[in-house]
Assembly symmetry: C2
Homo-oligomer: 128 residues x 2
Amino acid sequence: MERKTRQRQVILETLRRESRPLNPNEILALAREHIPRIGIATVYRTIREFEKEGKIEPVFIPNKGTYYEIKCAHHHDHFHCRICQKIYEVECPHSAKLSEVGNGFVVEFHEITYHGICPDCKEQTGQR
Amino acid sequence: MERKTRQRQVILETLRRESRPLNPNEILALAREHIPRIGIATVYRTIREFEKEGKIEPVFIPNKGTYYEIKCAHHHDHFHCRICQKIYEVECPHSAKLSEVGNGFVVEFHEITYHGICPDCKEQTGQR
DNA sequence: CGATTAATGATAATCGGTTCTCAATAGTCG
DNA sequence: CGACTATTGAGAACCGATTATCATTAATCG
């Protein structure tokens, strides 16, 4: 039967605290701040479990791989910062309009990924 | 100096004829209809070359990998059919509106991937 | 507190995708 | 037509991501 381990607690806390999609390596690095000897296998195992339990869900970023975020009710899109490489959640202002592309295609859902510079990096690099 | 080989001709023809993004395995399979002994290494080599020459460009589909299409001037989006797994080009009706997400994020470009059923599969499966 | 056994950490194995190696093939040009 | 050499095909090698293995650790419960 399922046990409440420090590793699982820390991984879930990390995903909650960051409130942005994290990939397995990011989760590992952040979790190691609290459990230095945690291994990548535990991260993957815990991800699989949380996903099965419906606690988290995958986010597929084009050309970047799979990230995971706390399961969330409302539809939103994602933003990839080309400086720090972090993924952020952003609001989707067009969900209603994006259910049609015409020409006989049946749209069931869509994903939008924005690319650019995040607020933190904009400030730090002086770019605007 | 650069040589005009049958392999290169067939690969470019294939991408032109299909007029949808193809991944290396799809290119290989279609090219083999004309050159049965063509190998996957040649496909990858030719892709790299065509990309360098600006003839084709990559399309990154979330959770599906990298596809390639003939370089095209106007912005468009992509559609992934969950039945036949093909990727199609579709028009982007919102390009102007999608340059802003607010909150200090600087959007440089975006990608939209639609998922659903393509016209061919809709007809064949009787789904509507 | 123990005993039980689920979970972990380290590492090997696997997997798809892509690149490299090298002998054989085939464009190109004189 | 040759000679030259870029290109090819086949398979090995490589790569990052993910999973499996297994001895050790630690959560749970009587």
